[in-house]
């Protein structure tokens, strides 16, 4: 790998400034996102007070509750209150459960993170191997087969994957439970049993996209003149991929991983619902069904923050991996 270089302090500072800029931009975007989320969810025709009390409530009762909930204040004031509350960790009170949103979420968030972590652990190495194998074999039989396979997997509905999994592993083979509850004191075996299907289903959902983008990133480099040069230097294909192509493909590959992991957020909605997994995504679906706006807004903001965080990480990795920026 590249030997250490005299990246002067000016280079390091330039990078620090650039990364700080990206972080700042992420926060600006997050603020704008919160504005959009608030605007959409605040535009609802009925209002929460009317809904909470039902049709039989007198106008006076509604007005009283409206005042209590702060709904009679102008929109920008409510937005200000909401966003400062969020920043301080107070996401309001759930209209349905009548308890702090923060509390509900803190019960669910670890489950979701655990599911995402297990899925990442399985899917990232798998996707990298498929993508790189496919690219090295470009145009060959393996590449074409993998292309068709990933192409089809990308277009599969998550609930088909999950339903088939239940049908096969729970109903027919009776290997795995069809619902996924993690007991507090689960051993490794139980852990594996309860996570196998949700993680498997999510892996099917994200691995194809990740592998395709990895392949594209590697293939893009394979067409560069420096790869032909490396070949004409007498390097083996393996050496060319490892020491020439991958260092240049790191940025796009990490970006592909981040994008796919963010897709996991959406895919988790169906998978969590089907397997009754107590995660954040199924919580959000409940919030939509019951029109529990404070809870919904908070969930949406968490998903968007995770997306922005993933993109930020990908950006920073790309900056660090690019010698043009690193040694500027």
């Amino acid at each position: 790998m590249a030997s250490p270089i005299s990246a002067g302090s000016s280079g390091t500072r330039k990078i620090a400034i650039m990364i700080a800029g990206r972080i700042g931009l992420a926060f600006v975007t997050l603020f704008l996102v919160s504005l959009i989320v608030f605007a959409i969810s605040d535009l609802l025709p009925g209002d929460a007070a009317q809904e909470a009390l039902g049709q039989s409530a007198t106008p006076a009762q509604v007005a009283a509750l409206r005042h209590e909930m702060g709904l009679d204040r102008p929109a920008h004031v409510r937005f200000g209150g909401w966003i400062t509350g969020l920043a301080g960790g107070d996401a309001g009170t759930s209209l349905v459960a009548n308890m702090p949103v923060g509390e509900i979420i803190s019960q669910r968030l670890p489950n979701s993170l655990l599911l995402a972590a297990f899925t990442a652990l399985v899917s990232v190495p798998l996707a990298l191997s498929i993508g790189i194998a496919s690219a090295m074999n470009r145009g060959g039989r393996l590449d074409r087969a993998l292309n068709i396979a990933t192409l089809s997997m990308v277009a599969l509905p998550e609930f088909l994957v999950a339903t088939l999994a239940v049908l096969i592993f729970s109903v027919h083979l009776r290997w795995l439970p069809s619902i996924s509850m993690v007991p507090e004191d689960a051993g490794w075996g139980e852990m594996f049993q309860s996570f196998a299907m949700p993680v498997g289903a999510l892996t099917v959902v994200v691995v194809a996209q990740m592998a395709r983008m990895t392949r594209a990133a590697v293939v893009d480099q394979l067409d560069r003149p420096y790869v032909e040069m490396a070949l004409l230097k007498g390097l083996s294909r393996r050496a060319i991929i490892v020491s020439h192509v991958l260092p240049n493909a790191v940025g796009p590959i990490v970006n592909a991983m981040a994008l796919s992991m963010s897709y996991l957020l959406g895919g988790a909605i169906i998978v969590e619902t089907i397997f009754n997994y107590p995660g954040l995504a199924s919580l959000m679906v409940n919030a939509v069904t019951s029109r529990d706006m404070p809870l919904l807004q908070a969930c949406a903001m968490i998903f968007c923050s995770v997306y922005l965080l993933l993109m930020l990480i990908a950006d920073v990795v790309a900056i660090l991996a690019n010698p043009r920026l690193r040694t500027a």
Partner: protein, 276 residues
Amino acid sequence: MTPVSALRWTRRLPLSGRVGLFFVLFWALAALVGPLLAPYPIGAFVDQNVFSGASGQFLLGTDYLGRDVLSRVLLAARYTIGLGTGAALLACLCGTGLALTAVVSPAWLDELLSRFMDTLISIPSKILALVMVAAFGSSLWLLLLIAGITYIPGNYRIARALAVNLNQLDFVAVARARGEGRFYIAVREILPNMIHPLLTDLGLRFVFIVLLLSALSFLGLGVQPPAADLGSLVRENISGIAEGAPALIVPALAIATLTVGVNLLIDALPRGGRRG
């Protein structure tokens, strides 16, 4: 395109493309004339048993209320494909229109539009759709709008990237130096060179939107009864999972063959159309 040239075109496709084309044509036909061919009235309870298997009487069995699955799938396919096509067209027309506007406009407008789209794209599409469904509800028209709006930023990003590249080419510089207006440059110089990748993107958006709407319906947040799309059918028959009922499997497979078919077809299309 004459039948002969269409046939020749089909023959040039690889096998996967021909499979894709078959599914796409099959479902297009099903959506257009399928409900006319339905053997039973859509809502009729025609079987004493629920979740019965395939038989001569009910080709694809019956559902959880004893209705004919084939008839229901044919109608549901029309909803899924109709909504998907409408929303995909909406997303691509708006996205591409805005992208072209941004590229030929002054820098501040481009900056403003792109900033806004970047913000929208930071909200994962399913999350954005869920928030909108919670806020506005889920009538058919709303669903179409919501699905369309959700995928505008994605199309915008791709169309803008294409248009920015084309806008830097010398033939656009020649047109500008000739004194051409912005509209002419966007529509006559830039747009014709984007058509091919944009059609590909339209197909991809269609796949995304069908998957999104099916997922919403599966969650009970999409198409509402008595109307039903393929996702709704999967939802209402989920209790048939223990039996492996066709009423559950068939609509799920229907979605899969539709989306996979479109994807395979797009991938098999000759790239770029022309050399260069």
